[in-house]
Symmetry: C2
Subunit: 158 residues, 2 copies
């Protein structure tokens, strides 16, 4: 017999943790979605217009972001008629960490889960021992995976 009250509590937790914390800023999301989408067919030249239509990202915001990604050296931008964007760095040389680092001010994120600036195993907060494993899993994905390591066969959306 299922206790309805706790079922809903549990369901709410699942919904909550499906997203909470694990969600990047819009800007990082956009950057990753754009670059992973481009990485599916890395040789192509992509116009802002085509990316906007495909990825449903706000026009001017995407364009600004593309300029950032260009200045950061991930892509070329070709101005004028028949212009667009294509990879400068190879997708297998672009780590997920690099992308996020490029579009967000790294200095914004000085601390860990509980916001302390100077953290170490020698000066731990109360969550440290429970948190370390998650943090390392997380780090290994974002520092270890490149744009070309992702599962393009599986993906049904960008």
């Amino acid at each position: 017999m299922i206790n309805i009250k706790y079922f809903f509590k549990f369901a709410a937790d699942i919904l909550l943790f499906h997203g909470i914390f694990m969600k990047l800023t819009n800007t990082s999301e956009y950057a990753l979605r754009i670059l992973t989408y481009m990485a599916k067919d890395p040789g192509q030249l992509y116009t802002a217009k085509s990316l906007i239509e495909k990825l449903k990202i706000s026009d001017k915001y995407l364009r600004r972001l593309m300029t950032t990604l260009s200045k950061e050296g991930f892509i070329y931008s070709i101005q004028g008629r028949d212009g667009g964007y294509s990879f400068k760095k190879q997708p297998n040389e672009i780590f997920l960490a690099d992308v996020v680092n490029a579009v967000e001010g790294m200095d914004t994120y000085a601390g860990c889960v509980l916001g302390f600036e100077e953290c170490s195993c020698e000066n731990p907060c109360v969550m440290h021992s429970t948190w370390v494993k998650v943090r390392e899993e997380f780090m290994s994905v974002f520092t270890g995976k490149t744009l070309s390591d992702l599962d393009f066969e599986l993906a049904k959306r960008y």
Copy 2:
């Protein structure tokens, strides 16, 4: 022989991922720091003043947050002289997820890492297969650990 350029790149990644993404909002941080600090000695009555001094959190912001935590049923608030806050729910009944859920609008977080609203294994994004494991580790900590499950012996800071 160490390649200096890559050493610095690596160091930057470590710094980056020490914080990035894994950092909660200030509000959630505060809530967790306050409640974990109180959970170290759960029977005590804590004044806002003492919490502000100990945890270095902005006066009015902390007070507002305490009212929220009170309304959400985690703590009692006792007004007037000799007033303060103490636990209403037992710390071992308060999951980390509950705290974050209470102080942040859950509706803000509708999606997962790439921001999609309707996600499932049947409709995955390009990161899904690499991301699922991290997400589950993460979920198990926040839905599985209560305030009293944390390592109070180890902790040197709140």
